[in-house]
C-alpha cells in the first residue's frame, strides 16, 4: 500500500511519514504543493493525505486537478479550520474524508485503513470471529468458547466495530463517532466505562484478554496470541 503525504509543516510531515511507515505503509512525503501535485500526477498511490493550507498551490487546486485528470485515488484532507464551507468544498471536490488539526495519529491511522479498505470488494459477512469469540451478525448474538454472552444493543455495536477493525488501534473519539454518532470530544470517560463493561462480559471467566488498552491511543481488539 502506497501513500502520499502532502504537508508543508516539516515536523508534522516527518512524523506522519514515520508513523505511516511504521504502520506498514510505503510513504512518500511532498513538502510543497507543486511537488505533491507532480508526484500525485505521475506516481500511482493508493491514498493521498493532503494538507489544504499549502504555501504555493493549495490543496483544493491539487484536488481539482487530480479530479480533472481522472485520477480516482482516495484523498483524506487535513484542515486547520473546522468550518462547514471547508468540509463541503473538500467533499464536493472529491475528497473522501477529512481531519481537523490537531488530530490524534491513531485516528488518522484508523481513517486511512478505512479508506484503503473501501476500494476492496465488500464481503457481506454474516459472522465475525476473533479467536474463540464469534459474533452472529444476523441473530445479533455473541458467543465465546461455546458460551452465549448477553449484550445490550450498544455493546453489540461496539464489539462489532472493534471486531471489524481487529488488530487496529481505535481511538476513543473514533469509537464515539462510529458507534454512538457523537462527533465531538467529550470531557468524560464514557468510552472507557463502556469498554470496561464490555470487557467484563466477554473476558470475565476466560483465560485470555481480547480487548487491549493501547495507552495514549485507544483500544484494540485482537487475538490473545498477538499480545
Amino acid at each position: 500500500m502506497k501513500i502520499l503525504v502532502v504537508e508543508d509543516e516539516t515536523k508534522i510531515g516527518d512524523y506522519l511519514r514515520q508513523g505511516l511507515s511504521e504502520a506498514g505503509f510505503v510513504t512518500d512525503l511532498a513538502r510543497t504543493g507543486l511537488d505533491g501535485h507532480h508526484l500525485a500526477m505521475t506516481e500511482s498511490y493508493d491514498l493521498i493525505i493532503l494538507d489544504v493550507m499549502l504555501p504555493d498551490i493549495d490543496g483544493w487546486r491539487i484536488l481539482q486537478s487530480l479530479h480533472d485528470a481522472g485520477k480516482n485515488v482516495p484523498v483524506l484532507f487535513l484542515t486547520a479550520r473546522d468550518s462547514v464551507e471547508d468540509r463541503v468544498k473538500g467533499l464536493e471536490l472529491g475528497a473522501d474524508d477529512y481531519l481537523v488539526k490537531p488530530f490524534a495519529f491513531a485516528e488518522l491511522l484508523a481513517r486511512v485503513r478505512t479508506l484503503l479498505r473501501r476500494g476492496a470488494t465488500p464481503v457481506a459477512e454474516t459472522s465475525l470471529k476473533v479467536g474463540d469469540l464469534s459474533l452472529d451478525l444476523v441473530r445479533r448474538q455473541a458467543r465465546r468458547g461455546g458460551r452465549c454472552i448477553q449484550l445490550t444493543a450498544k455493546e453489540f455495536s461496539l464489539l462489532e466495530f472493534l471486531m471489524r477493525h481487529r488488530g487496529e488501534v481505535m481511538p476513543r473519539s473514533l469509537i464515539a463517532s462510529q458507534v454512538w454518532d457523537m462527533n465531538f470530544d467529550s470531557d468524560t470517560n464514557v468510552i472507557d466505562v463502556a469498554i470496561r463493561r464490555l470487557r467484563a462480559k466477554i473476558e470475565e471467566g476466560f483465560d485470555s484478554k481480547l480487548i487491549h488498552t493501547v495507552r495514549g491511543m485507544g483500544y484494540m481488539l485482537d487475538e490473545p496470541a498477538q499480545e
Binding site: V84, F184, S186, D187, V190, A194, G216
Partner: protein, 481 residues
C-alpha cells in the same frame, strides 16, 4: 462613505433659518396691516372732508334762489372753504361754463369736467397736476324747478403731505423690519447655540471615552429631558461594551493561563526525563502522560475555536428539523454506562421538536447532560423534561445535589468559570462546557437560564420553533461584510 449622500444641514443653521423665516413672515404681515390701516385712515378722513364740503356747496346752490349775483355766490363758496386747508372747489354749469373755481395755487379748472359722467352720490378719483396730487369728489347736481339747472361740482383736497408721510413711513417700517429680522436671526443663532450646548458637551464626553476608560458614564440627570434618554441609551451601550470588553480581556488572560499550565508541566516533565538516562518503560510512561496533556490542550483549542466562530457569527448553521426527544434518547444511550457506574439514573419526559443544527444542538445537550450527571449524587436521577409550546421548544435538565451558590449563577456561562476553583482539572474539562452550550443556544436565537435550589439544579434552554434561517443568514452576511 457614499459621496451621493449629502450631509444634512447643521442643527444650528436649520433652527436659525427657521427662526428667521418665522420672524420674517410675522413682520411682513404686521407691516402690511399697519400700512394698510394708516392708508385707510387718511382716505376716510379725506372722504369725510370732501363730503362735508360737497354738502355745503350743494346746500348753497340749492338755496341760491333767484339771486344770481356771482359775487355773493363766490363769497359764499369762499366762506365754505375757510377752515378746510388745501381744499379746492370747482363748479361748472351743464354747458361747461365755470361758476366757481378756487383761486390761488390749486386750480381744478385744468382738470375740466369733460368726459366725466358723475352721479348724484359723487365720484371719487385722484388727480395730479403741477406737482400736486389731489383726491377729488365730483358730484352732479340737479336743481329742481323753478331754476331747473344742472351743475357739476368737484371738491378736492391736496394729499401731497399724506403721500409724503406714507412714503417715509413705508421706508422706515421696512427698514425696521429688515433689521429686526437680522437681529432676531442673530439672537436665534445665539439661543440655538446655547440651547444645543448640552449636545456639544455630550459629544465632548463621548470623545474622551477611550478603551481604557470604559467605566466613565454620562450624567443623564444633569441634562435636559430631551437628551437624558440619549445619555441613558449611550450609558447602556457603554455598559454592555464594557462588560463584553472585560470578558474578552479576561478570556485572553485565561487562555494564556490555561495554556501556560500544561506547557509548563510538559516542559518540566520532558526536561526532567532527559536529565538522566532511564529505562524504556519510564520513557513510555512519560510519553503517555504527555499525550494526555496534549489531548486536553487540543480539546481546549477546539473548544475555543468553536467559541470564537460563534462569537463572530461565522458559524454557518446547517439547519434541519431536529427531534429533541430522539436526540436526548441517543445521548442517554451514550451516557448510560457512565451514569450507571456513578449510580445515577436517567429519565426523560415530554417531547419537543425544533429547527437547528443537529450536531451543534447535540453537543449542547451533551454538555448539559454530562454536567448534570457529574454533579448528581449517587442514587439520584438526572431528569430531562421536554416541552413544546406554540413558539418554543423547552428543554430542562435537572439534577439533585448541592446547590450552586447564588453569586456563581450569573457567571456560570462565562468562559473558564468554575464554581469551585479547587476543582480545576478534576476531569471536567477546561471550564468551557457551559460557555459552549450558551454560544450554541445563542446562535440558535434561544435563551438559557440556570437556577439552583437546595434540592435541584435546573438548566432551562428555550429554542424558537419557527425558522429564523433567513435573518440568521443575513446577520451572518452583515457580520462578514
Amino acid at each position: 462613505m457614499n459621496p451621493a449622500v449629502r450631509h444634512p444641514l447643521s442643527l444650528t443653521l436649520r433652527l436659525t433659518l427657521l427662526f428667521a423665516i418665522a420672524a420674517m413672515l410675522a413682520f411682513a404681515v404686521f407691516g402690511w396691516i399697519i400700512e394698510r390701516s394708516i392708508k385707510q385712515h387718511f382716505f376716510d378722513e379725506d372722504v369725510a372732508e370732501l363730503k362735508a364740503i360737497a354738502s355745503s356747496v350743494t346746500k348753497t346752490l340749492s338755496t341760491r334762489g333767484k339771486l344770481d349775483v356771482s359775487t355773493v355766490l363766490r363769497q359764499r363758496f369762499n366762506d365754505i372753504l375757510v377752515g378746510h386747508h388745501s381744499a379746492v372747489l370747482y363748479v361748472t354749469r351743464e354747458d361747461g361754463s365755470t361758476v366757481f373755481a378756487s383761486p390761488g395755487e390749486h386750480d381744478l379748472s385744468a382738470m375740466g369736467h369733460n368726459g366725466m359722467e358723475p352721479v348724484a352720490e359723487g365720484l371719487l378719483h385722484v388727480w395730479q397736476d403741477a406737482g400736486h396730487t389731489y383726491r377729488v369728489l365730483t358730484r352732479r347736481l340737479e336743481m329742481p324747478s323753478p331754476a331747473n339747472e344742472r351743475y357739476t361740482v368737484s371738491v378736492a383736497v391736496a394729499i401731497d403731505s399724506h403721500l409724503r408721510f406714507l412714503k417715509t413711513f413705508h421706508r422706515t417700517l421696512w427698514l425696521m423690519i429688515a433689521s429686526g429680522i437680522v437681529l432676531l436671526g442673530i439672537l436665534g443663532w445665539v439661543a440655538v447655540r446655547r440651547g444645543l450646548a448640552p449636545l456639544r458637551s455630550i459629544v465632548a464626553q463621548i470623545h474622551r471615552t477611550s478603551a481604557s476608560e470604559l467605566n466613565t458614564r454620562l450624567r443623564p440627570e444633569a441634562m435636559p429631558r430631551e437628551l437624558s434618554d440619549l445619555a441613558e441609551s449611550f450609558n447602556g451601550m457603554l455598559a454592555r461594551i464594557e462588560e463584553a470588553f472585560e470578558r474578552l480581556s479576561n478570556f485572553s488572560a485565561d487562555i494564556a493561563h490555561e495554556l501556560r499550565t500544561p506547557v509548563t508541566s510538559l516542559l518540566t516533565q520532558s526536561q526532567v526525563a532527559l536529565s538522566q538516562s532511564r529505562g524504556m518503560e519510564e520513557y513510555r510512561e512519560i510519553l503517555y502522560s504527555n499525550i494526555e496533556e496534549y489531548e486536553r490542550m487540543a480539546q481546549m483549542i477546539g473548544d475555543m475555536l468553536l467559541l470564537a466562530k460563534t462569537d463572530n457569527g461565522q458559524y454557518e448553521l446547517d439547519r434541519i428539523t431536529v427531534d429533541l426527544t430522539s436526540e436526548v434518547e441517543d445521548l442517554f444511550d451514550y451516557y448510560e454506562a457512565w451514569a450507571e457506574e456513578r449510580g445515577v439514573s436517567l429519565s426523560l419526559t415530554g417531547e419537543a421538536v425544533t429547527e437547528g443544527d443537529r450536531a451543534m444542538l447535540r453537543r449542547a445537550l451533551s454538555n448539559l447532560l454530562s454536567n448534570a450527571i457529574r454533579h448528581c449524587p449517587a442514587g439520584e436521577a438526572v431528569r430531562v423534561v421536554l416541552e413544546q409550546t406554540s413558539r418554543e421548544a423547552v428543554i430542562r435538565v435537572k439534577n439533585p445535589g448541592p446547590p450552586i451558590p447564588a453569586e456563581h449563577i450569573p457567571r456560570l456561562f462565562d468562559r473558564f468559570h468554575r464554581v469551585d476553583a479547587s476543582r480545576h482539572r478534576s476531569g471536567d474539562g477546561a471550564g468551557l462546557g457551559l460557555a459552549i452550550v450558551k454560544s450554541i443556544v445563542d446562535v440558535h436565537r434561544g435563551r438559557i437560564v440556570a437556577s439552583s435550589t437546595d434540592k435541584c439544579t435546573t438548566f432551562e434552554v428555550r429554542l424558537p420553533s419557527r425558522s429564523t434561517s433567513i435573518t440568521e443568514r443575513e446577520v451572518g452576511r452583515n457580520n462578514m461584510a
